[in-house]
Amino acid sequence: MIVSKNLSKQFGEFEALKNVSFEIEQGEIVGFLGQNGAGKTTLMRILTAYLPSSSGQAFVGGEDVSLNPLAVHKKIGYLPETPPLYPNMTVKAYLRFAAQLKDVGVKFQKAQVEHVLEECRLEDVQNQVIGTLSRGYKQRVGIAQAIVHEPEVIILDEPTNGLDPIQILHVRELIRKLEHKRTVIVSTHILSEIEQLAKRVLIIKKGEIVVDSNLEKFLIPDDRKQIFVKVKGEEFHIEQAVKDTNSVKQINIEFLGEDIYELHLENTNNVAHYGELVQNFIKYGIKVIEIKEKKGTLEEAFLKINK
């Protein structure tokens, strides 16, 4: 659905994007993650055919963004970094205007506007002048304008900027609802958010893509899967059971009281099952209370990448 081939962008001497390549399938929800100034906004502006790239190509729905921007604009709904709002217009008039420019049929404009007013929970302020809205409401109007024409591809630059936690949940719901039907790209530098919003993450660092991965896989890299096991038994037996198991290596053992220990283990081969380990525990008469996979946090991963 979205293809980027060796995109580069120079601002004078400065290279904002370097050889960016990726493909996004229809129905995917992808998060662009990166520090301030990493190039997220620039990349989105190129994909939406707002900025020309310096070299490389980008396609949205099969259309080349530099050769056929109008066709691309028909397919996309875009929320720029600063919500593009006219302070003197009312919410409703603005959404109507957006619908007109985005080829929503005259007969459907009213219904579409009402639909997004409801979807973005803007009914209460629909006749209010945009300039007097609070930050979060403005952001929601920005999102509403992006989806008013039910585009195939939705590109949202920091959609949750300025929203309260409940609204963030709501935006997440909204985006999740679009899943499978529509392709969604969101950018953010709030790490926990991307876990909630996206299934796949592209991490951009100084204009380069350093990670392109399924979020689950990214958080728990296969080769360093760590587990915590709570067991009850004698320490000597426990350690022997671990030693007998080829697929794990002991990192740490902690005494929790009353013969209960917590083991911190590392999975040395890539298989994610603990049958052998459990069998060995049983052999030594050790009770297994809990097995827990340690999930990496995005913070950890992010800090490591940006070191």
Binding site: R45, T48, L51, H73, Y86
Partner: protein
């Protein structure tokens, strides 16, 4: 076409929501009124010739105020990114904005129509001359607006936009004064660019295709230049 009207409509209603437009309207109408009665009192003539001259001069002052925000404000607000990522061609954006401003300007001009009524009531004015006069100054205003629009497309700053528009409009308006300091080919260019000379013919009732071509080609030129500056996002690159 629908989109051009949608943009024009947004632009026009934008004027009515902004205080500046009302100030311009009030000032323009007041100045028209004062000068109208002064001129009529002085000349005792059944023509609007001198009123037109006052209007022309006033246009130089009010057009930049009307046009300074047209594109500059969109860029400031970030709405240019919105307009340019909707399936709307750059030409449609330019024409929509031009049309919206032109309609507002025409509404201001309509406030002078009662003068015609007053003169008509008291004497027998030459209707033909008056009509060509109106056409002339309307074309002049339309040309000025195109110039202002073009300048507004160059920058994010409304102030810069207004100042540059004043420079260009003063040049067009006072070009005749520069003629004597120049010579040769350059002189003939300045003579041709001088906007007053072309309007003058309309005001005295002379319709010539060369004057019409001057205005229309000027408008087309400015609108095309506006489109080009949007195509190239010139405000980001200078």
């Amino acid at each position: 076409m629908k989109k051009i009207f949608a943009i024009a409509n947004k632009e026009l209603s934008g004027y009515f929501r902004s205080p500046i437009a009302y100030v311009v309207l009030i000032v323009a109408v007041t100045v028209f009124n004062v000068f109208f009665f002064m001129i009529i009192d002085e000349n005792q003539e059944a023509t609007l010739r001198d009123v037109f001259k006052v209007m022309e001069f006033l246009f130089v002052f009010i057009v930049p105020i009307l046009t300074m925000k047209v594109f500059a404000e969109e860029k400031q607000l970030g709405t240019m990114e919105f307009l340019m990522t909707t399936p709307t061609t750059h030409m449609q954006i330019v024409l929509g904005k031009y049309l919206g401003t032109l309609v507002f300007f025409t509404l201001i001009m309509c406030w002078t129509l009662p003068y015609y009524g007053i003169i008509k009531f008291f004497s027998h004015p030459d209707t033909m001359t008056m009509m060509t006069g109106y056409i002339g100054i309307w074309l002049e205003g339309a040309f000025f607006i195109a110039v202002g629009l073009m300048v507004s497309s160059w920058t994010r700053s409304q102030i810069v936009s207004a100042i540059l528009s004043y420079v260009l409009l003063f040049f067009l308006y006072f070009a005749s004064a520069l003629v004597k300091y120049t010579g040769g080919f350059f002189q003939s260019i300045i003579k041709y660019l001088d906007v007053m000379g072309h309007t003058q013919n309309f005001i005295v009732g002379l319709l010539s295709s060369s004057d019409a071509i001057y205005f229309i080609s000027g408008i087309v030129f400015c609108l095309v230049m506006t489109r080009i500056s949007i195509d190239t996002r010139i405000w980001d690159n200078i």
